[in-house]
Amino acid sequence: MKRFIGFIKKEFYHIFRDTRSLFILFGMPIAQILLFGFAITNEINNVDIAVFDKSNDATTQEIVQKISASNYFSIKQNITNEAEIETVFQKGKVLAVLVFEKDFKKNLTKDNAAKVHVITDATDPNTANSITNYISAIIGSYQKEMNKNSTLEYQIETKSRMVYNPELKSVFMFVPGVMTIILMLVSAMMTSISITREKELGTMEILLVSPLKPFQVIVGKVIPYIFLSIINAVVIVILSLFIFKMPVQGSLFLLALESVLFIITSLSLGILISTVSATQQTAMMISLMGLMLPTILLSGFIFPVSSMPLPLQVISNIIPAKWFILILKGIMLKGVGLAFIWKETLILFGMTLFFIALSVKKYKIRLE
């Protein structure tokens, strides 16, 4: 046991004396969570639009006022002829132009129908879509107000309610994803690098010719990173709680347990990588290409798994991150207990056992 503690002590020396890896360990999680939280967002806020009002009557003015009062849009410019529509888009000044037809109010009262045209800049399709939806919704609600007193029978009204993230904040979606990626990266990449470094520097040769058991070497390598990853997980949860007001509906204790499970899954992957790579560089490449990319693309972090083609959906099942993101969303947003996520937990647990068994089998007690 004393040998083992001595080994762990040595590992901590390595970590704290290497400023580069320290930076990766603690700088990256904070930078990533802030970046994803603030910069990458699907919400629309203060989008600049232009208005081409051919009618310019009381109704159109009311609608425009309602739109500009909404916070989602700000009216940048009033346009007076057709040709200008093209120009404002090309200049990139606005993302949408709202066109009211001639005699808008007259048509509305006489024919019960008037036309408004929403033209959006679809170079960014997601934003264009959101803009159209938001404007339609605002006009729709104006229309409802107008009809309050009328006696239209048979009217179907769709009322939707977004649960778990009513404000559709994208940061709620990113936090579980970022947390998963950071834990994966720190745990898997750092351990695989630290084990291969011993191989590369030749110190593994001495460790092998010592009474230290392979098991002790590996667990000794892993324990410091378990601690550091837990600290990282705590930092991420605190950041998302206080900066992004992300709720944790479920039990914090369960969240902690599940995180530790995922950390161990990633560490066992890291060990597996180190058994197949001879240099630090190889280990890093395998970690980045073999773990990070699939984790980002296939875990459902950015692209929903359900909208992937079937083969990719099948592949996504073998990615540990997919299951951990489901668990995180369950606990943080839905507030569910173990009863609802036992399946995902069991899958992660099984994967961990598999990776550990495989690495133990692959770990060499000799040089060849």
Binding site: R3, K10, R17, D18, E205, L208, V209, I365, L367, E368
Partner: protein, 300 residues
């Protein structure tokens, strides 16, 4: 018998690194494996330190089989690989502490053994190992390999890349360790170091050429060796090689070592031959045979 190697062979893909090697090292002996780079020395070390499996043959270290009892061997030997293999980001003291701990001992417990060596690097004990000079690194590596009081010490080219003064000191340390009853197997490409061993095995291309004490090996050298020198060394070698009675000619430090085919060779004759070939300042002297001469002869 401290180390026993019986008919060991080992190949890597197409290269035969070790070819049917057998030797034995007695308890408390300082045994040297002498040979050039690529002779198979490191492979033999790795087989004996349980890092490699041999393809053929058996070996025991301190009475333990290198395959079946590898765990016992790992408890009982000290190993210093050819490449400096300590933690460069740890200080001298931390390295030593670490190796003491993983072998289940402490610096204090075996301080006697390493005192002579460690005392020289102790003033730098707070310096990181990566910042030490070559000679100090060797001393630290040796201290680390010794800290658990091993029965057998394996030193793979410990003096390669070390300055001559430190090399000399290093061999003096080995002699003192030997007196403490530790069996030492050391390898070196430097022939002059061979004479400091109790017994040596000359090895080339994975095969052992000869095993004996350095004195015996020299004694059995069949010829008289002459130091020859002249102003133009390159031309001298050319001329000697075209001398019809030459047996061997090779540069040796500032001289050329020359042997003749005939038993009744007279240096005067060679002197005249060289003078006739326009050489100036010719000097021919009989010299002492060294291990290197023997090696050159055996490796022919």
């Amino acid at each position: 018998m401290s180390i026993s190697v019986q008919h060991i062979s080992k190949s890597f893909k197409k290269v035969t690194a070790v070819n049917d090697v057998s030797f034995e090292v007695n308890e408390g002996e300082l045994f040297g494996l002498i040979g050039p780079d690529g002779a198979g020395k490191t492979t033999i070390f790795r087989i004996l330190t349980t890092l490699f499996f041999a393809d053929k043959g058996t070996a025991t270290v301190a009475g333990f089989d290198v395959v079946a009892d590898y765990k016992e061997i790992r408890n009982n030997v000290g190993y210093m690989p050819g490449k400096f293999s300590l933690y460069q980001d740890l200080t001298v003291k931390e390295n030593l502490d670490f190796f003491a701990t993983i072998f289940g001992t402490t610096i204090e417990e075996n301080y006697d053994l390493i005192k002579d060596i460690y005392i020289q690097i102790e003033p730098f004990k707070k310096r990181r190992a990566g910042a030490l000079s070559g000679g100090m690194k060797q001393k630290l590596a040796l201290s680390c390999a010794l800290i658990h009081k091993p029965k057998v010490l394996f030193l793979d080219e410990p003096t390669t890349g070390v300055d001559p003064v430190s090399r000399k000191e290093f061999w003096e340390m080995l002699k003192r360790l030997q007196q403490k009853g530790i069996t030492i197997l050391v390898s070196t490409p430097y022939m002059d170091e061979a004479e400091l061993c109790d017994r040596i095995a000359l090895i080339q291309h994975g095969k052992i050429l000869q095993i004996d004490t350095p004195q015996e090996i020299i004694k059995h050298y069949p010829k008289k060796i002459y130091d020859v020198r002249a102003d133009n060394m390159y031309r001298l070698i050319e001329s000697l090689k075209s001398f019809e009675h030459h047996y061997s000619v090779y540069p040796f430090g500032e001289f050329v070592h020359y042997t003749d085919k005939r038993e009744d060779f007279n240096p005067q004759e060679l002197q005249q031959y060289l003078a006739a070939n326009d050489h100036q300042n010719i000097k021919i002297e009989i010299t002492k045979t060294t291990i290197e001469d023997t090696f050159m002869e055996l490796a022919k």
